[in-house]
Structure formats: structure tokens, C-alpha cells
Amino acid sequence: MSAVESARPARARKRRKRDFWSIGGWIFLALLLIFSLVPMVWMFLTSIKTQFAAIEYPPQWLPKHPTLDSYRRLLSPSNDFGRDFLRWLGNSVWVSTATTILGVIIAVPAAYAFSRFRFPGRNGLFYSVLVRNMFPAVVFLMPLFVVMRTLDLVNTHWSLILTYLTFGLPLSIWLLKGFYDNIPIELEYAARIDGASRFQAFLRIIMPLSAPGIIATAIYSFIVAWNEYLYAYTFINSRELLTSPVGLRTFFTEFVTNWPGLMAAAFIMSVPVVVLFLVLQKYFVKALTEGAVKS
């Protein structure tokens, strides 16, 4: 799970003298870990409290009677609460997965073309793709709503998938182009001489080589789609079509004081992306270093 595997073991060991910066660094790291962890730990501790324990004053640091009730309620299809929540999770899974897969299908050939071909307008197109995320989501909300209405997609998951695609595409295209730039064209040539068609050469030789980049961009697209709130909130109005971030808000407005339930829901919806990211983060950092930073 280690992130950037750098080759600098020598420094830490050689440097015997514990100077100010070294000690200060450890203290800083400790504080940073507390800062990062406390909110998440508190989320979890709250989620295993009873509703009454959560709103005791002064707060119980550790729950006296830990309970998984909130989780049970959220994940059991036998009550309304759980049915909704599971459906929203399912919606999120579908929307994020579709976005991710389509994103890869669209980004890979585009990145490949930007890297390999020299067609007129290439640079202009490339940078116009890149600046997409400079525009705030809010300002596109209303026009996109109109577009979706024209396409008859309002209140469907496809409106979200189409929109989310554009969040991931710039990073995906950029990172993957970096990968393809670093793959010698001769490998493709060799494959074609060895009997592969253009497409086979791409599929059997180039694709596997850019796998870390594809995985990295896929994670990114998935996480962005999974977490998106604003468009999901605006485009979807049937309760059964909501994605989990919007569902979370719905819970909150309906059960204002049920903090354990809310924290449990937040916890559950964070688990997939956190696990996904931690398992695959080495690809992410590798892609960032290989495809992007090194140039």
C-alpha cells in the first residue's frame, strides 16, 4: 500500500544528528495524523452509539454501550430506511461504474490520438479538453438541465453519467497521453510486422503497457462520480433514483437528530471509495509521477 516508492533510504539512516527539523517533523506528523484521523474516528464512534448516547452532554468519548443498530438498520432491506439506503448505494454503484467504463472507452482512444497523431487543431483541442474543470459546476447546472431536458434525460441516471464523464475525461486524457508518449512507437510497429492489425497491436501491446494509467484514471473517475452531489441533487427528483450523497442529505433533513444513523451512512458510503483508493493508490501515484510529473 506504500505510495511513492522512492529510492532514498540512505538519508534517514545516515543522518544521526537529530536536529530541530527532524524532531519538528515527527511532531508535525503526529499532529497531522490527529487532524486527519479525529474526524473519521469520531464519525465511527458516533455511528456505534445509540441515538441517546450521541446527544449526551458532555459527550461520551467512547460509547458505553456500543451498538451496530444503525448499520443493521441501514443495511437491512426489511425496513424502509434500509431499502432506500441500499437502493441509493446501488444507484451510486451503477452510475459510477458506467461512468468509469465509458470514461475509459472514450479517454483511451482520445489520449492515444493526441499522443500519436499530428492532425490539424490537435493542440487547441487538447487544451480545450484540459480546461474543462476550470468551470464551476454550478454555472453549468441550469444550461445542462436544459440540455438534459432536450435530450429527454432529466430524472434518469444517464443525465448524471453523461455529466460525470466530463469530470474524469480531462485528467484521464492528460495522464494517458503522458503514458502513450512514453511508449515507443516501434513497439506498435513491431507488433504490426509480427502480424497484428493496428487494433490488435493496440489491444495486445499498448493497452497492457498503459494499464497503470488506465487503472489510475478509472479510480479517479469512479471516486468523482461516487462523491458528486450537486448534479445528482438537481437532475434527479425521484426518491428511488437518488445516489447516495443526495440520499445522505435526504436522511438528514428527515431525521435531523439521528446523528448515529447519519454517521453510519456516511461511513458506509465512504468505505468503497476509501478501500478502492487504498488498494490501488500505488497506481495512482505512479501514474501521476510517470505520466504527468516526469513528462
Binding site: A10, R11, D19, L29, N133, L248, A266
Partner: protein, 298 residues
């Protein structure tokens, strides 16, 4: 003659998606900002009003609010960006050292960035809770305060409180970018400096920092853009309140468009935002294309 028609096929899907989702909305917004559309979600019967919407915003009925919100936006963006950047830089430098469990520590530090902004916003809302919040609870236990602090309902405290939550969510991004940047610092240089007896601080300033210049530029630009655009944290935690004390551009645009259904004014507002973004975008592309520059993106 080389035929490029086939080449475009590869980028066509990407282009179509981008056109539908980006180009048309931009056109739509710019156009609408010069019209009066009435109050309905119908846009076929528009009346040309020239710069009226802009006037309304900058000098007219909305102006007091606009300038107030602009001030908030500046505070929000500058402090969030600076905070996330420096915390991320510190984090990158400390987790770059070799130690047991480094991978786990890095993983933990990255979690806030990965989780959903909605979840994060609720977590922080709960931490700041005026009755049962952890933060007030701890401060009381330590004897630092005798009454709970009302973070999110206090016009003076709400902005700093939001910024802290935002930094919590964003510093890992700066960390991961800078970590990638640190990989490009040649180890030989660092060794040489150590042999020359340079102190840690000197080594950082004279060896490491120059190599981080371009990645810093891009990270700061991206953080700035992210913060200018960040909607969810503010919307969920305070929705701009109390009394607009935490209203920023994007939440304000949302409010004007969807709560007051003034789409035309909101469009003018958006166009102004486009302008700001275009300037940042220009620097961004320039940073990306500079000869030795670090490449990365949104």
C-alpha cells in the same frame, strides 16, 4: 497528402461529450446573460436587455450582496488554498522520509481527500455541533472554555470553521502532487549538499524547493480553481448562512438561480466567474506548456 480524417474518429466521442456538456452550456449562459427571461424555466421567449443583468449585479439591487460575497470568496479561496498547500507541503516532506509504516501513514492522510464532500461536510457539522460537538466538548474538558462555541451560527466564526474543514479535505491533494514532484529531485544533489554540510533548512531551500517550482505553481492553481468552484462543503454545512456570512460565489449563483429563479442575473454572475476562470486557465495552460514544466491536471 496525409489524410487525417481517421485520426479525428479517435477523439470524436470525447469531443461530442465535451461539446454537449461544456460548449453548449457556455454558449447558453453567455447568451442568457444579455436577456431577460422572465421567471419560468422556459427559454424561448427572451427579451434583449444588453448589460442590464450585469448592472443589476455590480451596481444595482444585487450589488451590496455581490461585493460582500466577493469578499467572502476571496477570504475562502486564499486561506483554503494557502492552508491546504502548506499543510500538504509539510505532509509531503515528512512522509517522504523513510520510516516503518510510511505506506500506512500516507494512506491515512489521503482518506479525507477521497471521501465524499457531503459525508465530510456532515462529519464536520457534527464536530462543530453547538450542543454535542466534539470540538466544544474537548475544549470544555480542557477547561479552555466554559460555554460551548457556536461555530456555524456565528458570523465571525463561520468562515474560519468552514475553511478548516475545507483544508482537512484538500490538503491530501496538495500532498500527493508535491510527493510526485519530490520524486523529480535528484538524490545526488541532496547528497552533495549534505556532504557540503548544508543544514536541513538550507537543503530544502536551495536543493528541493527549486525543483518544486513548477509543481507548486500547478498545485496552487488547481487548489485555487477547486476552492473557487467548491460548492458542496459550504452548501451542506451552512448554505451560505448565517446572514450570508459564508456565502461564496458559487453558492450565491445557485441561490439566485434556483431559490430566486433569476436565471438571467445568475448567468451574468456566471459569466463574470468565467472571466476569472479564463485568466486562471490561461496561467494554467501556460504552466503546463512551459518547457521543463511539470505536467498534471485538474
Amino acid at each position: 497528402m496525409v489524410n487525417h480524417r481517421g485520426d479525428y474518429l479517435y477523439i470524436l466521442p470525447a469531443l461530442v461529450v465535451m461539446m454537449v456538456v461544456i460548449a453548449y452550456p457556455i454558449y447558453f449562459t453567455i447568451r442568457l446573460s444579455f436577456f431577460d427571461h422572465g421567471r419560468a424555466l422556459q427559454f424561448d421567449d427572451l427579451e434583449w436587455v444588453g448589460l442590464d443583468n450585469y448592472r443589476l449585479l455590480l451596481t444595482g439591487a444585487y450589488s451590496r450582496e455581490f461585493w460582500n460575497v466577493t469578499q467572502n470568496t476571496l477570504v475562502w479561496t486564499v486561506f483554503s488554498t494557502a492552508g491546504a498547500f502548506f499543510l500538504g507541503l509539510g505532509a509531503a516532506l515528512v512522509v517522504q522520509r523513510e520510516f516503518i509504516g510510511r505506506g500506512i501513514v500516507r494512506g491515512i492522510l489521503l482518506i479525507p481527500w477521497v471521501i465524499s464532500a457531503v459525508a465530510a461536510a456532515y462529519i464536520w457539522r457534527w464536530l462543530y455541533h453547538s450542543d454535542y460537538g466534539l470540538i466544544s466538548g474537548i475544549l470544555t474538558d480542557l477547561g479552555l472554555i466554559d460555554r460551548n462555541i457556536i461555530f456555524l451560527d456565528d458570523v465571525d466564526l463561520v468562515m474560519p470553521a468552514l475553511i478548516v474543514a475545507n483544508i482537512w479535505k484538500e490538503f491530501p491533494f496538495a500532498m500527493i502532487m508535491l510527493l510526485a514532484g519530490l520524486q523529480t529531485v535528484p538524490e545526488g544533489l541532496n547528497r552533495a549538499a549534505m556532504v557540503d554540510g548544508a543544514s536541513t533548512w538550507h537543503r530544502f531551500w536551495h536543493v528541493t524547493a527549486p525543483h518544486l517550482k513548477s509543481v507548486t505553481l500547478i498545485t496552487v492553481l488547481l487548489l485555487t480553481v477547486q476552492n473557487l468552484n467548491s460548492f458542496t462543503t459550504v452548501f451542506i454545512m451552512t448554505a451560505g448562512g448565517p446572514a450570508n456570512a459564508s456565502q461564496i460565489w458559487v453558492t450565491d449563483i445557485y441561490r439566485i438561480a434556483f431559490n430566486r429563479t433569476n436565471f438571467d442575473v445568475a448567468s451574468a454572475y456566471s459569466v463574470i466567474l468565467f472571466g476569472v476562470m479564463a485568466v486562471l486557465g490561461y496561467f494554467y495552460v501556460r504552466a503546463l506548456t512551459r518547457g521543463d514544466s511539470t505536467r498534471s491536471t485538474v
